[in-house]
C-alpha cells in the first residue's frame, strides 16, 4: 500500500479529528435480539454490528457433534447495504476467512468442554462497515456470549492499530485502512494476558511492529472496560461502577 496524501495534519489530528492514541467512540448494548440466547449491538465509530448467540443447543447436522466438547460455529456477514458499493450478499472469500479467524479468536475464551455434544452459534451481522469491523465484531461477540451465559475464562477484546504517515496510530478507520501503510488487528484476553488474534497487512520495521502491537493491546484494554460496563449496565442497572473484586 503506498500512501498518496497526508492523513495526519500539523496539529496531530487524523481524518476524523482523533489524536494518534485515541479510540473511536464505542458503544455496546447487551440483549438487543429478543429471540437469541445472548446478543449485543456495537457501534465502533461508524461500524454498526449486531451479534446474536444461539446455544448451547443440539447440533445439526448431527454428525458434527463431538463427544467431549461443544462445537463453536461462527458466521461473519456483511449486509449488502453496509459498504459504499453494494456488497453481494453471498459469502465472499474474505468473509469466510474472517469467520474463521473470529471463531479462533473467541474459542480460547470459552469453556467448550462444559457442553459436550452441543453447538454454540455466533452470528455477526455488519449493518454498516467502517474499517475494523472484525475487531468490533469480536468484541461484541464475546459480550453476546457472556450474555448467553456461556462459561468463559475471560472476555475477548479486540482493537486494531496501524501505520499512517509513518506514525503508529490506534484504531484505524476506513480511510486510514485504505490509504494508510499498515493494519494490525489484535484480539486479546486482558485478564489472562493472552493474544487470540493477530493479523497484519502492510510493511512495518521491527520497532514499528513492536510499537504497533503494544498500541493495539492497549486499545484492547480500553475496549475491555467498555465491554465490562455494558454487561454491568444490563445486569446491575445503574450501579455501573465496576468493582475491583471482578478482577
Amino acid at each position: 500500500m503506498s500512501q498518496t496524501r497526508s492523513l495526519i495534519d500539523k496539529q496531530g489530528k487524523r481524518t476524523d479529528g482523533r489524536t494518534v492514541g485515541q479510540l473511536r467512540e464505542v458503544k455496546i448494548s447487551v440483549g438487543v435480539v429478543k429471540n437469541a440466547d445472548g446478543s449485543a449491538y456495537i457501534e465502533f465509530g461508524k461500524n454498526k454490528i449486531i451479534v446474536a448467540v444461539y446455544g448451547p443447543r443440539e447440533v445439526h447436522p448431527k454428525h458434527m457433534a463431538q463427544p467431549d466438547r461443544c462445537v463453536l460455529r461462527c458466521r461473519y456477514h456483511m449486509s449488502p447495504f453496509s459498504t459504499d458499493t453494494r456488497k453481494n450478499p453471498a459469502p465472499s472469500r474474505r468473509e469466510v476467512e474472517i469467520s474463521k479467524v473470529m471463531r479462533e479468536a473467541l474459542e480460547p475464551a470459552l469453556m467448550l468442554e462444559d457442553y459436550p455434544r452441543a453447538a454454540i452459534d455466533v452470528y455477526v451481522e455488519v449493518l454498516q462497515a467502517d474499517g475494523g469491523s472484525r475487531c468490533a465484531g469480536i468484541s461484541a461477540a464475546s459480550v453476546a456470549l457472556a450474555d448467553a451465559g456461556i462459561n468463559m475464562r475471560d472476555l475477548v477484546a479486540a482493537c486494531a492499530a496501524g501505520k499512517v504517515d509513518d506514525k503508529i496510530v490506534l484504531d484505524i478507520n476506513d480511510t486510514e485502512d485504505k490509504e494508510g501503510g499498515a493494519d494490525m488487528p489484535v484480539a486479546y484476553m486482558p485478564h489472562l494476558d493472552e493474544v487470540t488474534l493477530l493479523q497484519l497487512d502492510g510493511v512495518l520495521t521491527r520497532d514499528q511492529f513492536n510499537q504497533c502491537f503494544d498500541t493495539a493491546v492497549e486499545g484492547c484494554k480500553m475496549v475491555y472496560e467498555i465491554q465490562k460496563q455494558a454487561l454491568m449496565q444490563k445486569y446491575f442497572g445503574n450501579e455501573t461502577e465496576v468493582k475491583e473484586e471482578i478482577q
Binding site: 461462527c74 469466510v96 489472562l192 493474544v195 493479523q199 497484519l200 497487512d201 502492510g202 502491537f213
Partner: protein, 275 residues
C-alpha cells in the same frame, strides 16, 4: 459458516506423549530440533506452458506453482495497477483426508495468507504493469496446486509462489491499433523484494518451526509471519484455536526475521542456480 472441526489426522496417545517428551528437551519425532526447518528443495520451470513455475518440496510437503500472464481490465479502485491473483488448491491426490469440491475455509485462508505476504510486501511492482491506464493492465495469475501434504502448507506454498515469480518471464504486450498484441518477446517482471513466510506453532509452552502434519494435529496455536528483504514485517496471521502470550509473539517475530533471512538466502541461491 466457520465451524470447529475434528482434526483429520489421528495421533495416538503414546506417540503424542513421545512428541511432548522430545519437545521438552528441544527435539522432535523426525530427529530435528524445534527451531530447525525441514530441507527445502526448489525446482524451477517445471511447467513449460506457464510463464513461470516452480515445484517446492519442504520435507514431504510438495507444491507446484504456475504463473499465467494475460491482459485484462484493472480491479475497481486500482485502475492504475496491474492485477495479481493468487489461488491455491489442495488436490485430492494430496492426502487421504482431502475431498474434491469447493475450497474449504482452510484452503481459502491458505490462499489469502500467501497472497497477503506477496501483495503487502509489494514483491511485484504492480504500478509498472499498466498498458492503458484505467483500461488495460497485465493480469498475473499465480495458481498453486498442493500435491502432497505433510504440514506447513502456508510456507511451502508461499515459497513456491516466490520461486515461480523469481523464474517468471513476462510476455511483452503492446497496444497496436487499439488492440492488445503479444510481441512474442519477454522480459523480467518488476520485482522489488523477496518476501519470506515463516510459520511457527505452539505445542504446550514450546514454539516449533515448520510443523509436520502430525505436529499440526497436536498444536495449540499457529502464527505465520512474513518479512521482506529489509527484514521488515509485511504480513502476519495467527491461526488455530489457541492463544499466544505477548512475549511469545514478540519472540516469534524475532525468529521470523532471523529464519526469514536464511530462507531468503537459500531461495536466492536455489533460483539463481536453476534459473
Amino acid at each position: 459458516m466457520s465451524a470447529s472441526k475434528r482434526s483429520t489426522i489421528i495421533v495416538e496417545h503414546l506417540r503424542r506423549q513421545q512428541m511432548w517428551d522430545l519437545i521438552a528437551v528441544g527435539k522432535r519425532l523426525q530427529g530435528r530440533t524445534i527451531d530447525e526447518m525441514r530441507p527445502l528443495e526448489v525446482e524451477l520451470n517445471v511447467i513449460k506452458k506457464a510463464n513461470g513455475s516452480a515445484k517446492v518440496k519442504l520435507g514431504d510437503t510438495e507444491v507446484v506453482a504456475g504463473i499465467k500472464v494475460e491482459t485484462g481490465e484493472p480491479f475497481e479502485g486500482l485502475e492504475n495497477k496491474g492485477a495479481l491473483i493468487i489461488s491455491a488448491e489442495v488436490l485430492p491426490i494430496a492426502s487421504p483426508h482431502v475431498e474434491p469440491g469447493p475450497p474449504d475455509e482452510d484452503t481459502i485462508e491458505l490462499a489469502r495468507v500467501v497472497d497477503r505476504g506477496i501483495r503487502e510486501s509489494e514483491m511485484i511492482d504492480l504500478d509498472k504493469l499498466v498498458l492503458v491506464p484505467g483500461k488495460v493492465v497485465y493480469t498475473i495469475f499465480v495458481d498453486c496446486s498442493i500435491i502432497n501434504t505433510d504440514g506447513n502448507l502456508l510456507d511451502a506454498t508461499s515459497y513456491a509462489v516466490v520461486s515461480a515469480l523469481l523464474s517468471c518471464k513476462l510476455p511483452i504486450f503492446e497496444i497496436q491499433d487499439g488492440k492488445v498484441v503479444d510481441t512474442g518477446k519477454t522480459r523480467d517482471p518488476p520485482l522489488t523484494t523477496i518476501p519470506v513466510s515463516i510459520t511457527q506453532v505452539r505445542i504446550g509452552n514450546a514454539i516449533l518451526l515448520d510443523p509436520t502434519a502430525e505436529e499440526e494435529a497436536c498444536m495449540d496455536a499457529r502464527i505465520t509471519i512474513t518479512t521482506n528483504s529489509e527484514s521488515s514485517y509485511a504480513a502476519t496471521q495467527k491461526g488455530y484455536t489457541g492463544s499466544f502470550t505477548i512475549d511469545q509473539i514478540k519472540k516469534a517475530a524475532e525468529i521470523a526475521r532471523i529464519k526469514g533471512e536464511q530462507v531468503r538466502a537459500k531461495l536466492q541461491e536455489l533460483t539463481n542456480k536453476n534459473g
